[in-house]
């Protein structure tokens, strides 16, 4: 059983943060909210999302599992204006999701969850550095790096206590330093890893510029990017594997 009413903005934020990595996903309809976990086909980027029942106008579920085509669902959610409410109801017998936006009724055929890529195991990471910054700074870093290169280095300079972003292109370089003062918080630790901008750019699309973003970093380790949405009642954690020296 699943029946919920949610604002179009919240639904769209949730879907967008998953669709930057995958086209289809499984959604766990837990009693206390929705949960999605997915990894891209190359196993490089992962998303772990939860949207608490409190983020909904009303929410009833009992632990079911559905598979959805994200772009279809996004298109439907896009039919609503951001303040409008979207009503979702699962028809267990036909395995279809009934969606209502004002007078508009849409019946979405679901995908067999077994046909969707298996959900990833969450890597067990002990990341020594933590950087908390504003979404707009993540935004700016990614944008600047993208002008010169395909990769971006993220690291923490322990001695001087700052977080840095480096990108080196064929001819031009970008370097950005954010000190304690520029950041919301910084816990120094040995950290320097290189990431593909293709992935980071996509993840960045889902990060609101006015939100607080937490980065966990290590030396040639995946980065963990955490942020909240829907007034903190939705949580997204991205994990992105680094590029490292071939061995």
């Amino acid at each position: 059983m699943f029946k919920a009413i949610v604002s179009a903005a919240t639904l769209t934020s949730a879907l967008d943060s998953v669709s930057v990595l995958v086209d289809e996903c499984k959604i766990h309809l837990e009693e206390d909210g929705l949960e999605i976990r997915a990894v891209d086909p190359a196993n490089v980027g992962m998303v772990d999302l939860s949207l608490d029942a409190a983020a909904f106008e009303s929410y009833e579920a009992d632990g079911g599992l559905i598979g959805v085509d994200l772009s279809r669902l996004e298109d439907i959610a896009g039919m609503a204006e951001s303040g409008q409410l979207v009503q979702l109801e699962l028809d267990e017998e036909t395995r279809k999701l009934h969606i209502q936006i004002d007078g508009l009724e849409y019946t979405l055929a679901l995908i067999d969850p077994d046909s969707i890529r298996q959900e990833p195991d969450i890597p067990d990471l002990d990341l020594p550095a933590e950087v908390i910054l504003e979404g707009k700074d993540v935004n700016r870093s990614v944008k600047a790096a993208d002008m010169v290169s395909d990769h971006i280095a993220l690291g923490v300079k322990e001695a001087d206590e700052y977080f840095y972003v480096d990108a080196e292109g064929d001819t031009d370089d970008v370097h950005l330093e954010l000190t304690q003062e520029d950041l919301i918080d910084l816990q120094v630790g040995p950290a320097h890893s290189l990431f593909s901008l293709d992935y980071l750019k996509d993840m960045n699309k889902a990060i609101p510029s006015d939100t607080e973003v937490t980065l966990h970093l290590g030396e040639e380790f995946p980065v963990k990017i955490y942020f909240g949405f829907a007034e903190g009642q939705g949580q997204v954690t991205y994990m992105l594997a680094p590029r490292i020296q071939s061995d």
């Binding site: 395909d150 593909s196 995946p222 594997a241």
Partner: protein, 325 residues
């Protein structure tokens, strides 16, 4: 050289580097030659000439050319030509003749001190000397880039490797790759910007031809191995093959003749290739040794290769998250 007229026939489209992944079987002579000519054109020859006058511009070319693969997570496998096909002798002879002409012009330009002409002509007179052959292989070995020695045409061998599924693309500027049956060929790997993808299946479907017919059409137009029939361009060739079915019927209908037509045809249909190769696609370049080889042993100006080596060093690989689970 290959047959540029094939461009009018081939289905080619630009492809972003991001969309390319896997192994590219590179026609090594073709690739090297491109870098060699640009290096010679833009770099003062003193930077790559040893004290005894040996020129190793190829080493600069390789260091500048490889990062492009590494940075895009593409593994290059360098396929070197074996002996030239007997039939290609004419082409080689005419290239030699042309080179002699250039060399004479170069002499004159040097006497007259015409710097622009000197630079242009120097790049045209480049050839793959035994030193270049040898040092290129050694540098590639140090950088752990796989090498495959073709029994004859490197391009045919590269196409064969893609057909067998051991590589994903042939890398060559040469349109002949199509005739050797290369399913997917990447062109302009040596240029700035995105490469072009030449698709055999799409080409055949577009013209409703079989590969055998495409080869016949190319023979009519002219290949590296034969003179074409005069007055037959790409369009006429396709039309004629479609109408008459194959090379012989077209020649008969036109009362024309192609010397060694059957052998040229055989050369494309059943080229001399080998299954006897193996390579490891996880690369572990020894940068220190490579730098020493280039800058110490062959006394290439370190500044010329610094950026290239730096890019190779950074040309690192993408890991998967499963590594941490």
């Amino acid at each position: 050289m290959g047959n540029a007229a094939l461009r009018d026939i081939a289905v080619i489209e630009e492809i972003p580097f991001d969309d390319i992944e896997g192994v590219v079987a590179v026609d090594a002579h073709n690739w090297l030659y491109r870098y060699l000519t640009t290096t010679v054109k833009w770099t003062n020859s003193g930077k790559y000439t040893t004290s005894d006058g040996t020129e190793v511009a190829n080493l600069i070319g390789i260091v500048q050319g490889l990062p492009k693969f590494f940075e895009n997570d593409i593994v290059p496998v360098m396929v070197f030509d074996g002996g030239p096909s007997e039939l290609k002798d004419d082409e080689i002879e005419s290239r030699r003749e042309q080179r002699r002409t250039y060399e004479e012009q170069l002499e004159t330009a040097r006497e007259e001190g015409d710097q622009v002409a000197i630079a242009q002509l120097e790049s045209r007179t480049q050839r793959l000397t035994p030193t270049i052959q040898e040092t290129s292989r050694e540098l590639l070995r140090l950088l752990d880039v796989p090498i495959v020695e073709a029994p004859a045409e490197g391009e045919a061998q590269a196409a064969h490797m893609v057909k067998r599924g051991d590589a994903d693309y042939v890398g060559s500027e040469d349109y002949d790759a199509l005739l050797f049956g290369s399913p997917l060929t990447l062109r302009q790997l040596t240029s700035k910007g995105d490469p072009e993808l030449m698709d055999l299946e799409a080409t055949l479907a577009h013209h409703e031809l079989t590969l055998e017919q495409l080869i016949d059409a190319a023979i009519l137009i002219g290949t590296d191995f034969n003179e074409g029939v005069s007055g037959i361009g790409p369009k006429t060739a396709i039309k004629a093959i479609t109408e008459h079915g194959d090379l012989w019927s077209v020649l008969e209908a036109r009362g024309a003749h192609v010397e060694y037509g059957d052998r040229v045809r055989q050369l494309f249909r059943d080229p001399n290739v080998t299954d006897d190769y193996e390579f490891d696609t996880s690369l572990d370049p020894d940068l220190e040794a490579a730098k020493e080889y280039v800058c110490e042993e062959w006394a290439v100006d370190a500044d010329e290769v610094a950026r290239g080596f730096e890019r190779i060093e950074e040309g690192v690989t993408q890991t998967g998250l499963d590594r941490w689970t």
